[in-house]
């Protein structure tokens, strides 16, 4: 027992030691690292500023158990700050980089009482809460990149809701007020659609176009092009806003692109396995192959049109499995140009949009790895970072 070795002290001595320890505890953090340069000037408490988002930054949610979204710089691996997101919260980043928006839900008496859904608005330089606004509801799921999005001009927010009616809440972020809700039956995973409004994936295997220009929303759908029950497209598909192009991946490894022009133009799919020179993925049982997997299994580097995919060897319906390899797919050339081994069985991946990008992966162990996609070198390994999703400022 530790206390057995401690000499007995009088009450006065103990109080004196406690006071000295307290003073020491206050003073110690002020001591500089180098001996002989210690400042003895009195100090005030202050708060660190945070710069505007940078292309090398990434944002990772802690996960299903712990709240918070960590902000890191992939160039250094350094932890910069925490954006205040709750478990199951959704983070949207202002395209101009001036604000962080968090869609969240609470009950007035912690676990019971009146449910409150709202958007919290934070200043990006300082992370000060500027205010919040009520919304009628939101889907409680977590881990999705397309449940809370912001228009390209930064003025409008869209929050997907499911209660269990499928709908979208429209928020005027400039005026900071809720505008309206419209129903979106059978579809989810929304992205902005220039000149139209929104697009979404649907359970009949189509893409919905949601025209928001008129007083009443008009929803039309493409012909079904994928099987939403047998070979679904992953929710967290990539969307290049500058090209208005969706890049999508199915459980078996089919790659689709859809250009959101006058109407959505869906490409002929190709197999990521065949692009790597191996047998195409299949839904048949007992066939071991390489399959994509994870909650956030792909990330697209827009300028090069290279998609980085978390892959594992297994059987069909293993779409949540962590990865043992990252495949670098040249989407334009339909060719896997590199296969990188990866440790930790990550199930979330993101890529920065720098000229020389960094890959960021995370697994259930909350360890993040920052990887150079050119060499596969792990540049940083960050413990206790989170499980994802992983976002970047766009």
């Amino acid at each position: 027992m530790k206390s057995a070795a401690m000499p007995k002290l009088s009450a006065a001595s103990a109080m004196g030691l406690a006071l000295a320890a307290t003073i020491g505890a206050i003073c110690l953090p002020a001591a500089p690292a180098l001996a002989g340069t210690a400042s003895v000037e009195p100090e005030d408490s202050d708060v660190a500023p945070l710069p505007m988002p940078k292309p090398s930054w990434f944002y990772i949610q802690r996960g299903f158990v712990q709240a918070g979204t960590g902000v890191y710089d992939s160039a250094t691996g350094k932890y910069l700050a925490q954006v205040e997101t709750p478990v199951l919260g959704d983070l949207a980043i202002d395209p101009a980089g001036k604000h962080y928006y968090v869609a969240e839900s609470v009950w007035t008496r912690r676990l019971h009482g009146k449910r409150q859904d709202f958007i919290s608005i934070y200043d990006s330089t300082g992370l000060k809460l500027e205010g919040d606004l009520d919304i009628p509801g939101r889907m409680l799921v977590g881990g999705r990149l397309h449940n809370f999005i912001v228009s390209d001009d930064g003025k409008t927010g869209y929050v997907y809701n499911f209660n269990p009616v499928s709908s979208v809440n429209v928020i005027d972020l400039a005026k900071r007020k809720f505008v309206k809700t419209f129903e979106l039956p059978g579809c989810a995973d929304i992205v902005t659609y220039p000149g139209v409004g929104l697009a979404a994936l649907c359970s009949d295997g189509s893409i919905a176009s949601i025209n928001l220009k008129g007083a009443k929303e008009e929803i039309t759908r493409t012909e079904p092009f994928f099987n939403a029950t047998n070979d679904p497209i992953f929710d967290n598909y990539a969307y290049d806003k500058s090209k208005a192009q969706m890049t999508m991946l199915t459980y078996t490894g089919l790659v689709y692109t859809a250009k959101l022009g006058a109407k959505p133009e869906v490409s002929t799919p190709f197999s990521i396995q065949e692009a790597a020179g191996i047998r195409k993925g299949d839904t048949k049982p007992l066939e071991v192959n390489w399959f994509p997997g994870g909650g956030q299994p792909l990330a697209l580097h827009y300028a090069s049109n290279h998609m980085f995919v978390l892959m594992h060897a297994g059987e069909f319906w293993s779409h949540k499995a962590g990865a043992t390899e990252i495949w670098d797919l040249d989407v334009t050339a339909h060719k896997v140009v590199k296969r990188l081994s990866v440790s930790g069985e990550p199930n979330s991946i993101q890529v920065t949009q720098e000229a020389k990008p960094h890959l960021i992966v995370a697994g259930d162990d909350e360890v993040v790895q920052v990887i150079d996609p050119a060499t596969g070198e792990v540049k940083s390994r960050i413990k206790d970072a989170g499980t994802g999703p992983i976002q970047i400022a766009e």
Binding site: F162, N163, P164, P185, T229
Partner: protein, 191 residues
């Protein structure tokens, strides 16, 4: 659903997505904000409808070929004796903490938790008789996350645009609180 029935007559006869959409549209009724009572009502209506989807699909297909389901990695390793393990046969598409480890049971919520009347569904193979059964994964709600015996089955699990077959969604609809505690695996019947 068997892989070789992805297209053609089966899909023309029955389209789960179409039915799901009709169900959801019926819930909708308007665009105005709903009160809790309306949500509860919708959820109660949903309770008998969602679990019927795969049954209806099976009926539409005549005698369903369940052999693909019996051959998944999960089905081949499934056991029937320990419902606190992730490979218990009913957990082929469960996601979350097992209520059997949280003071509840396979179809029983832990004390103080409230069972959700609606659920996502799975079709799992009982290795003892080789038959497929419909499993309703009903969340127990109103208490904080149990965080014990966390499992993540994924047989025939889909994405959120097909919500009735997605196991990431918090399915605490129609309960006093949507706070997620743990998940049960209620046997509904033969699939």
């Amino acid at each position: 659903m068997p892989a070789d029935r992805t297209t053609g007559d089966v899909m023309k006869k029955f389209n789960a997505d179409s039915l799901g959409e009709k169900v959801l549209r019926r819930f909708a009724g308007g665009t105005s904000r709903r009160g809790m009572l309306a949500r509860v009502g919708a959820a109660l209506v949903a309770a008998p409808v969602f679990p019927l989807l795969p049954v209806s699909r099976a009926e539409a297909a005549g005698k369903p070929d369940r052999s693909p389901e019996t051959k998944t990695a999960f089905a081949r390793a499934a056991q029937t004796s320990d419902d606190t393990k992730c490979n218990y046969w009913r957990y082929c598409a469960i996601d979350g903490a097992l209520c059997t480890c949280c003071g509840g049971g396979i179809h029983t919520c832990p004390p103080g938790a409230e069972p959700s009347p609606v659920s996502w569904v799975g079709t799992c193979i009982n290795p003892e008789d080789g038959k497929a059964y419909l499993i309703a994964y009903r969340d127990c709600c109103g208490k904080s996350f149990c965080n014990k015996c966390n499992c993540n089955g994924s047989d025939r699990e889909t994405q959120i645009y097909t919500p009735q077959l997605n196991n990431d969604i918090i399915w605490c609809f129609g309960t006093q609180s949507m706070e997620y505690h743990c998940s049960t695996a209620v046997l509904v019947g033969a699939a």
